[in-house]
Amino acid sequence: MRTVFKTSYDADINLFRHKQQFGWYLALLLIAVALPLLLSTFALGEATNVLIWAIACMGLMILVGQSGQASLGHAAFLAIGCYANVLMQQRLGLPFLVTFPLAGLIAGIAGALIALPMTKLHGIYLAIGTIAITILVEDFIVLAAPLTNGVIGLIPPPITIFGLTIDRYSTPNTLYYLTLGITLLVVLAYRNLQRSPLGRSFAAIRDSEISAQAMGVNVARTKAVAFGISTGITGLAGALMGHYAGIFNNETFNLIISIQLLLAIVIGGLGSIHGAFFGAAIVALLPQTIAFARDILGSLVGGGSIAIPGMEAAIFGLILILFILFEPMGIYGRWVKIRTYFELFPFYRRDMFRRQKAYLKTERMR
C-alpha cells in the first residue's frame, strides 16, 4: 500500500495524488490519442459515441453524483443543446466554434432557470418534475415545427473549423479527435470543480442539506448552479450527438434516453468521473454487443439472426437490477474494492465499504 506524505495544504487538492497516478493517466491519454491507428473505422465511430455519452454522463454525474439531485430530464437538455447548435449554424450562419459553446451556455441557462423553482423539491418530486420537462420538451419540438422541423427532423451541416471540414463518415479520425479534445476539457473542468469551493458546497448539499445550510451554503442558489453546470455540459454532449447522429428529430431525445443516462451513471458508479466513463461505455456499446451476440447465436442455431423487440432494454434492465442488488456502488466501486483488496492484502475485510444506514428516515411527520 502506498502512503502519500503531504507536505503542504495544496497537496490535498492536487490534480493527481502522486507521480505514478499521473503516469497511468498519461499512458491512458496516449492510448486514446493512438486509437485511430489501432481501430477500424467502424470501431472508431463507436469509440466516438462512447466519448460523447461520457460527456453527457459527466454532465448528469455533476448533478446526481456531486450535488445529490436526481434528474430524469437530461434528454431535454441534450435536445436543447443539439437544436441550439444546429439552428444557430443553419439560421444565423454562425461557425461551429461559436455555436458549440453557445449551445452549452443556452442549455445551462435553461437548466438553471428551470431549476430555480424546482430547488424546493426533494428526491422523488424532483425526479417527477424532471420527467415532465423531458416530455414537455419532446412535445414542444413537435409543436414548434416551423423552427425545429418537427417530426421530420434536422440534418446538421458538417463541422468546419479554420477550413478543416469534420464529418462522421468522410473524416472519422478528425471527429474522434475533436470529441476527445472536448472530453478532456470537460474532465479537466469537472476535476477543477471538485477541488473548488463550489464543488465542496455541492458535496455538502449532497450529504446533508441542513448541515450545509448551517455552514453558510446558500442551498437554493448552489442547487440551481449545479443544475446549470450539469445541463450546460449535457448540452455540449447533445450538440456533438446531433453531429454524430447525422439526423435527429423529437424522438432522438425521448424519456428513454433520460432513463438510460441515469442508469448509465448508476451502473458506472455514482460520484466519480471513472463511473461516468464506465457507464457510457456500457450504454453506448451494449446495442452493438447484443447485435453481435445475436448474430453468433443465430449462426450457431442455424436459423438466421433472432430479432426480439425490446430485448435490448430488457437485458439493460436485467444488468441494472443485478448491479443495484449486488454492487450498488457500480463498476467503479467494484474496481476500488478489488484494488483495496490487493493493496491491503491480506487485511481486507468484507464490510469495509458497507454503509451504516440501516432503516429509512421518513419525510412525513404524520
Partner: protein, 291 residues
C-alpha cells in the same frame, strides 16, 4: 359528443389513472419506495386476465379469470418484495426508483414475448354495449370502470380504518421503528402492501383493457398516473384518485377546446405548475422534514 359524455369518458380514464396512482401511493406511504413499474404492473395484470379469458389463449369465462388474474398479481407483488425489494431495505430512494424502472423494462419485454406486440382486445361481457341513462348514451365499460373504482376506493378505505391488518399497515407507514417495537412484522407488512398494490394494478389493468385494445407498451401510462399522483398529493389515497380524475378530465377537454397537439402536454404542464406552486400536491401530506 356532448359535454356530459366528454365528462363521463374523462372520468372513466381518470379512474384508471387514479387506480394506478393509488398503487403508487400505497407503496410510497408504507415503504417510502416509489414503484416506477406500477404502470407495467397494470399492463401485466391486464395481459394475465386477457391470457386467461381470450379464446385464442385459455378461454376461461371472464368472471372466473378476473379473480385469478387479481390473485396472480397479488402473489407477484408479494414475491417481488420478498425476493428483490427486501434486499433494498435502507438504501436510498433513488436506487429503488432506478431498480423499478429497470424492472419495468424487463416486464414489458416478458409480456411482449408471451403475448406479442400487436394490440389485442380483452373479451368482456361489457364490450360494445351501451347504457341509456336519462337520455344519455354511455358505454357500458365506462360506467363499469367508474362503478368499480368507487367500490374499490370504499373497500380500501374500510380496510385501512376497520381491519387490524389495515391499521398495522398505517402504523408501519407512519413510523417503521415504532411499529416494529409494537410487535408489527414490518417486513411482512411491506410484502403485503406490495401484494395489495399489485392487486390494485390488476384491477386497473382489467378496467383499462375493457375500454379498448392493449399492447405491452401501455405500461407507459404509468407516467401519466404518476403525474396524477403528484398533482393530487403523493402519499394521500384520496389525493391520488382526485389527481387521476383531474388528469383524465383535462385530456378530452383540452383535446376539444385547444389546438391539436396541446392535449397530450396539458397533464404535464399542470404537473409542472403544481410542483412549482404547491410542491406537495393538492392534498399535501408533508409538513416538515426532519434532519
Amino acid at each position: 359528443m356532448g359535454v356530459l359524455q366528454l365528462i363521463v369518458s374523462g372520468l372513466a380514464n381518470g379512474c384508471v389513472y387514479g387506480l394506478i396512482a393509488m398503487g403508487f401511493v400505497l407503496i410510497y406511504k408504507a415503504t417510502e419506495a416509489v414503484n416506477f413499474a406500477q404502470g407495467d404492473f397494470m399492463m401485466l395484470g391486464a395481459f394475465i386476465c386477457l391470457g386467461l379469458t381470450n379464446p385464442q389463449f385459455m378461454g376461461l369465462p371472464f368472471w372466473v379469470s378476473v379473480p385469478i388474474a387479481i390473485a396472480i398479481m397479488g402473489a407477484f407483488g408479494y414475491a417481488l418484495d420478498l425476493v428483490v425489494l427486501r434486499r433494498m431495505f435502507g438504501q436510498s430512494q433513488i436506487a429503488i426508483v432506478i431498480l423499478t424502472i429497470a424492472l419495468g423494462f424487463v416486464l414489458r419485454f416478458a409480456a411482449g414475448v408471451i403475448w406479442g406486440h400487436e394490440p389485442v382486445s380483452l373479451v368482456t361481457p361489457m364490450a360494445g354495449k351501451n347504457v341509456h341513462f336519462g337520455g344519455l348514451v354511455l358505454g357500458a365499460s365506462e360506467v363499469a370502470v367508474i362503478v368499480v373504482t368507487v367500490v374499490l376506493t370504499g373497500l380500501l378505505y374500510l380496510y385501512f380504518n376497520r381491519t387490524k391488518l389495515g391499521v398495522a399497515m398505517q402504523a408501519s407507514s407512519q413510523n417503521q421503528l415504532a411499529a416494529y417495537y409494537m410487535g408489527i412484522p414490518v417486513k411482512r407488512i411491506h410484502s403485503l402492501i406490495w401484494a395489495l398494490s399489485g392487486m390494485t394494478a390488476a384491477v386497473a389493468g382489467i378496467l383499462f383493457a375493457s375500454k379498448g385494445s392493449i399492447d405491452p407498451s401501455i405500461g407507459l401510462l404509468g407516467i401519466k398516473a404518476f403525474a396524477a399522483a403528484v398533482i393530487g398529493g403523493f402519499g394521500s389515497l384520496p389525493g391520488a384518485l382526485l389527481g387521476g380524475i383531474i388528469v383524465g378530465l383535462i385530456e378530452p377537454f383540452s383535446g376539444r377546446y385547444m389546438p391539436s397537439g396541446y392535449s397530450q402536454i396539458m397533464p404535464y404542464l399542470l404537473l409542472f405548475l403544481i410542483l412549482i406552486f404547491r410542491p406537495h400536491g393538492i392534498l399535501a401530506q408533508v409538513h416538515a422534514k426532519k434532519v
